[in-house]
Structure formats: C-alpha cells, structure tokens
C-alpha cells in the first residue's frame, strides 16, 4: 500500500512501549490503530531475557534454586515447589509429611499475596488509585509472616530437595490464623469499593470474551481458562504434594470476559484460605527434611513436573545426562500462553479495552522472557 493511501485511511502505529505504566513489566505492544480502534496488536518480547534456563544448565542442580524465585517474583514459592519436586521425582527422594504441609501452606499464602497484588495493579490500570494500597496493606501481613519463616520477602529460596530448610513454629501458626480472620473481614471493603462499583462493571463486563475453544487452542491455563468455563486445575486434575487431602472448590466463570476472570481470582483467595486452615489443623509433627545425598546425580532420561502457579500451569522439563548438571532444563511458564491470544482477541477493540484485557490476564513479563 502506498504511503499516501495508508495515511488517507487514518491508520497509524502506536508503540505501547517497553516503558509503560500499564504493561506489567517490559513488554512492547505495537498497535496498528485507526483512530481509537486497535486493528492489530502485536506483542514484542525479549526485553528482559536473563537466560535463566542457560544458568540452570551450567550449574549443579542445587544451584538453580535462587533463579526459581526470580523468574516470577510475585508468586515465587510455587516456582520453588515445581523445581524441587522435579528433582525429587527424578532422583527418587521422599519428602516427609510435615514438609509437604509446610510447602502447601506457604504456597497458598504466596498465591493469595499474588492475587492481592494483581487486584491492586488491575484497578490502577483502570484508574482507581486506592484499592492497590488496600491490597498492599493486606499483602504486607503475608509478607511479614513469610519473612519470619523463610527470611526473604519477595524472592524466596526456601524449599530444598527433600523438604524445607527451616521449620515453622507456634508463632507462625498463630499469626497465620490471625491473618485469615483479618482477611475474611476485609472482603466487604473490596466488595463495596470494587466488585459492585458500576464503573468497574462497565469497564470489565463483556470485554475481552475468550471462548473456551480459543482458550484451549492457545493453551491458556489458570484463572484465564477457568474464567471461560473450563474447570481445569492442576491441583485437582493432576494432584501433587498433599493437595488430594484437602477439600476445596475450583471457581469457574461462565462467559470468559474480564469480569469473570476477576471473580475467579477473588474467589480463589477464599479457597486458598480454606486450604490453609485445613492444613494448619492437620499439621503433623516430624522431620522437615529427609536425608539427601550431597551430590545428586541425575540419571539419563527426561522428567517433567507441573504445578499450579498463581497464573496457570507451570511445568519444568529436565533431561539428565548422568552428572549433577542437567543437560536441558526447560520451564513452561503460564503467562506466555496467556499472552499469545492477544493478537486474535484484540482485533477491533478500543484502546482502554486493551488495557483492561491485558490487566485481566495477570501477566508478569519477566517470567515470559525468563
């Protein structure tokens, strides 16, 4: 098409640049626009590629633990969980029950923290400036609780092969119970300020409808898939750790619009609280770490392990070659598949709707680029 014809049609390119207040991380989206309508969004990735997988392949397997916390820093403990469970499955290491319970409790606390941050950031994109601070107020309590047992606030490297590295004590249990009670009372605030707000409903209802067929084609997982009506959760469909012992539900949306994805995540917070309560009630005594050989040799062959991170299915794939350094370590992150349906979904929508859709997908770009 000639340049003059192109300009006549009132189309232009806009860079929702790598530095933007609304893309959650370093993401470039090249928008071909016609006035206010987006004709074709094309995400461009790779701005924060830090070569985590290469680092995993050049160190003995215990050395990859800090990297797992840094891929997705908002919800780092499920990443830890996936990696240690992978090596345990590969090397045949047994984990004591108390350690499994501690892992579940801390992972679920981290999931709640991640959802609270997502809620605040989503509403910040939509223009409301206060819910993020209310969410951060609640999240600070979780971070303090997790700091008292793991030592870090954000990038945890707490799980070890064969268990966890530090035990929890009575104060941890008390603080967690107090936190659960406090969070349940705060639901009313979010309900009144956000969920029932007519402006918020108008910005999220019937926007960005992902049909179940489209979700399955792009491999979306996590709350995005459940918002479209398909009930698939790794904790129920391919259970790992001690999740089969707990009684919890999987919230499912009906339509697949932004409001459904929002409601799924908000209801997941409550389900996580239920899991934590049951785990605290049933916490067994015992060792927190089993005996593990100093040098773990990974037998030749491959192995896979999938966990449910806050954003979807996270799975690790390992090919061993007899030494203690993996030959190939591949991490399948949920945000990559979630983002990939944007070009199809974003045809012919308005720019504020694009911001709303991006926010509702709950993307963390550093985990896409690893």
């Amino acid at each position: 098409m000639l340049e003059s014809e192109y300009q006549e049609q009132n189309r232009f390119f806009l860079n929702m640049g790598p530095q933007h207040p609304s893309t959650h991380g370093v993401l470039l989206i090249v928008l071909e626009m016609n006035g206010e309508y987006v004709l074709d969004p094309q995400p461009v990735l790779g701005f924060i590629h830090r070569m985590h997988e290469k680092m995993g392949e050049s160190r003995p397997c215990p050395g990859f633990m800090p990297n797992t916390g840094r891929m997705d820093y908002v919800c780092a403990l499920p990443y830890n969980h996936g990696y240690v469970s992978l090596i345990e499955r590969k090397a045949g290491i047994e984990v004591p029950e108390r350690a499994e319970y501690i892992r579940v409790i801390t992972s679920e606390l981290n999931r709640i923290a991640s959802h609270l941050l997502w809620l605040g950031a989503y509403l910040l994109d939509l223009g409301a400036f206060t819910p993020i601070l209310y969410g951060f107020d609640d999240r600070e309590h979780i971070l303090d609780i997790l700091e008292s047992v793991t030592g870090s606030r954000l990038t945890y490297s707490y799980y070890r092969f064969g268990g966890v590295c530090q035990d929890i004590d009575e104060t941890f249990v008390e603080r967690t119970r107090a936190f659960i009670k406090r969070l349940r009372k705060r639901y009313a605030i979010y309900e009144k300020l956000v969920t029932k707000n007519i402006i918020f409903i108008k910005r999220t209802e019937d926007i960005g409808i992902v049909s179940p067929d489209m979700a399955l084609r792009y491999g979306m997982t996590g709350p995005n898939l459940r918002g479209s009506g398909i009930s698939y959760d790794i904790r129920k469909n391919e259970p790992y750790s001690v999740y089969p012992e707990f009684d919890f539900e999987i919230p499912v949306g009906s339509q697949g619009d932004c409001l459904d994805r929002y409601m799924v995540r908000v209801r997941e917070i409550e389900q996580s609280l239920r899991i934590i309560e049951q785990a605290l009630d049933r916490l067994p005594d015992g060792p927190i770490r089993s005996k593990v050989p100093k040098n773990i040799k990974l037998a030749p062959g491959d192995c896979n392990f999938a966990v449910e991170a806050a954003r979807g299915e996270l799975s690790y794939y390992l090919i061993g070659d007899g030494t203690s350094t993996p030959y190939r370590l591949k991490v399948r992150v949920p945000s990559y598949s979630n983002l990939s349906c944007l070009p199809e979904l974003g045809r012919g929508i308005l720019l504020p709707d694009l911001v709303s859709i991006l926010g509702s997908f709950d993307l963390v770009i550093p985990e896409i680029d690893r």
Binding site: M55, R59, P60, P62, G63, F64, M65, P66, N67, R70, T130, Y134, D137, E140, D144, E147, S148, V149, T150, G151, S152, T155, S157, R160, C165, Q166, I189, K192, L193, K196, N197, I198, I199
Partner: protein, 147 residues
C-alpha cells in the same frame, strides 16, 4: 425501559457505597511507618549477608577452610583461602571474602557448611557510593567483633 432505571438505581447506590468506604478510611489510623524517622523491628530470621559465627568457647571462627561454601555457591561470590602454618595441625583462615553484589541470598553456603560456621547477619540498611564497598571482608568483620 425498566433496565434503564434499575441500572441507574443500582449504579448510583454502588457509587455512594464506594464513597462511604473511602470516607471511612479517611478517618482510620494510618498503617505506614515513617521510615527513616521511625523504624520497625527486623524478624530474627531475616536473611542479610553472611557472617562468620563467633564461637564463644574458642573466641574465634569455626571455619576449617574446606571450601564447601565456595564450591556450592551458585553465583561464585565467596572466596576462601587458608594456609597451613607451621606447628598447627589444621589450616588457618587467611581470607574470607563475600562479593555481595552477586549474592542471591539462597542460603546454600550456610546449610552446606559441615561445622556450621556461617550465619545470616541482620543488616538491611546498606547503601554506599561504590561497588567495592560491598566486597565484604568477613574475616575482618569477625576480628572487629572479637575486640
């Protein structure tokens, strides 16, 4: 037609309720701490950079310069050097350096030490003007504590 008015009514009510939430929050006490004018206590299990433990019996370090921490560190930030002095059976520690700019606080060194010679310090208030200020000489820090 009915939906027009009912939407208006529920919408207006939700807006008033939302305003009520923020009005109530306006008069609630603040939850932030005015750092650095006020400080909060650090939890005892906070992971700062590592330090040598001062063994009260020996009044010195426990390190045997095996180098396990140096080998197992994924970021290659520990340097341990020992030398065998005459008249002593074990090696003495000469140099224990931590390059904190590379450390990822994974805790592998603390766990893998066979004599439990390392612990986490509680320093969180770290700021300096040059990178070299974070190349800690852990042995010297221990010697200053001994005095």
């Amino acid at each position: 037609m009915k939906q027009y008015f009912s939407e208006l009514y529920t919408g207006g009510k939700s807006l008033v309720e939302g305003l009520g939430v923020t009005m109530k929050a306006l008069f609630m006490p603040i939850v932030t701490v005015q750092y650095p004018r006020e400080e909060i206590d650090i939890s005892p299990s906070f992971r700062g950079h590592i330090d040598l433990i001062l063994d009260p019996e020996k009044n010195s370090y426990r390190c045997i310069t095996c180098g396990m921490c140096e080998k197992s560190c994924p970021s290659d930030c520990i340097t341990v050097k020992g030398e065998k002095r005459e008249g002593e059976k074990k090696k003495t520690l000469v140099l224990f350096e931590l390059d904190f700019t590379k450390c990822s606080l994974c805790g592998t060194c603390v766990e893998v030490c066979p004599v439990n010679a390392l612990e986490y310090s509680k320093e969180y208030n770290l700021a300096a003007f040059s990178r070299e200020a974070f190349h800690y000489d852990i042995l010297k820090r221990l010697e200053e504590r001994i005095k």
